[in-house]
Symmetry: C2
Subunit: 216 residues, 2 copies
C-alpha cells in the first residue's frame, strides 16, 4: 500500500469509528451502510466514506461495510494488535482508576508496574500489580522493556519524571499532569488535560447563557 500522510483530524475520528463498530459487533450486526453508520454517529455519510477511503475503503458499492472486517482493520491501523508494556507513575485515585481499567489489556496495553512516592502504598496491589517505590523506577524501566509511561502525578514532578523515563528508554507518555512536557520530538505524548476540558465546559455554559439572554 502506498504510504501517505493521514491528517490528525482523521486519526482523531478513527477511535470513534472503532468504538461504534465494536458496539455493532456486540449487537450481532454484520453489515452496515455508510448511511446507517452516518445516522448513528451523527457524521455525514460522505465524511465516513472519505475517512475510510484513507485506508483503502473496505466498502463494497451497494453491500455496505463488513462490520467485523472494518473493525479488525481499523484496530490494526490503530496498532491495537501490537503489545505495549506500560507503567503508571502515581498510584492516587486517578492512577488506580486507570490501573483498574480492564480495557487496557484488550487494547494490547500490558500493565507491568505502578509507582508512587507514598510508602503507605508499598504493600498495595492493583489487579495483581504491586505498587513500587520511585527509587526502583529506572532499573525497572530498563529491565522490563517499558514502552509507555502514564503520568498521574502533580505537575511539579511531571517534567523531571518524564525526562527520566525517556532517558531510560520509554518511547511514549500518556500525560495527565497539567503541564506541557517539552520532550524530544521522537517521543510520543498524548495529553489529557482535565482542567482544560472543564474550562471548555464552563465556556460553553456561559456562552449558552449569554445567547439565551439575548434571544429573550
Amino acid at each position: 500500500m502506498e504510504e501517505r500522510e493521514i491528517s490528525q483530524a482523521v486519526i482523531r475520528r478513527l477511535p470513534r469509528y472503532y468504538r461504534y463498530l465494536g458496539e455493532l459487533l456486540e449487537n450481532g450486526v454484520e453489515r452496515i451502510s455508510s448511511n446507517d453508520l452516518s445516522k448513528r454517529m451523527k457524521v455525514t455519510a460522505s465524511q465516513i466514506r472519505q475517512d475510510l477511503n484513507n485506508f483503502g475503503g473496505f466498502g463494497q458499492q451497494g453491500y455496505g461495510y463488513n462490520v467485523k472486517y472494518l473493525y479488525t482493520e481499523i484496530g490494526k491501523i490503530l496498532g491495537l494488535e501490537q503489545h505495549h508494556n506500560i507503567i503508571i507513575i502515581g498510584a492516587g485515585n486517578l492512577g488506580q482508576a486507570l490501573a483498574n481499567y480492564a480495557d487496557f489489556e484488550k487494547r494490547g496495553f500490558i500493565l507491568k508496574g505502578i509507582f508512587d512516592v507514598n510508602p503507605t502504598l508499598a504493600d498495595v496491589s492493583i489487579r495483581g500489580v504491586p505498587v513500587r517505590m520511585m527509587d526502583e523506577l529506572e532499573q525497572f524501566v530498563r529491565e522490563n522493556d517499558i514502552e509507555i509511561g502514564v503520568l498521574t502525578i502533580p505537575k511539579t514532578k511531571a517534567v523531571e519524571v518524564a525526562n527520566n523515563l525517556v532517558n531510560n528508554g520509554v518511547r511514549a507518555i500518556w500525560n495527565f499532569a497539567h503541564i506541557d512536557l517539552n520532550l524530544p520530538e521522537n517521543v510520543i505524548v498524548e495529553n489529557v488535560h482535565l482542567s482544560e476540558s472543564l474550562m471548555r465546559l464552563s465556556y460553553n455554559i456561559s456562552r449558552y447563557h449569554e445567547e439565551h439572554k439575548e434571544s429573550k
Copy 2:
C-alpha cells in the same frame, strides 16, 4: 462589544493560554510579548495575536500583554468567575479522583454531591461531601439547583442517568462514560473518552515504528 461566533478551535486553545498565564503570574511575571509567549507555548506569535484579537486583543503595541489583566479577562470569557453547582455520579476511583480535585472550587465549580449505587460507599465522605445513594438523585438535583452532572459510571447506565439528570434540570454533562449521550441540543456535553485517547497514542506509536523502519 459586538457579538461574533468564535471558532471551536480558538475556544480549544483558550484554556491553554489561561494555564500558561496562570503559571507566569505564579512566577511573578507582569508583562509578556506575544513573541515570548509564542516561544513558551510553541505556537506562532501571529497565531497568538490572532486568537487574542477575537476578544478585543488586550495587547498594547510595543508593551506586550499585561499578564494579570489577560489572565483575568480570559477567565471571564471562560466563565470561571461564575459559580456552578456540580454533582458526580459514580464514586469509584475516577469519581473520587475528580471529587478530590481541589481546582474545581478555584474554577467556580462547587461540588454539591456524589452519588453511587454501591451501599458500602454510603458512609463515605470525600472532602466533606457524603456519597449518596442513587434513589436520592432526582430530588437532590431539583432542590440544590444542580447545573452540571459528571458521569463516571459504566456506559450501560450512562444514557439513562444522563436523561434523568436533564429531565430534572441539569444543563451540562461532563461525560467520562465510553458512549455518546445523544441529549437535546440545548444540553452542553463535554466528553472525555479516555479509551479514544489511548488509541490515538497507540496509533502514533505504530506509525512512528513504521516510519522508523522505512528510513532504515
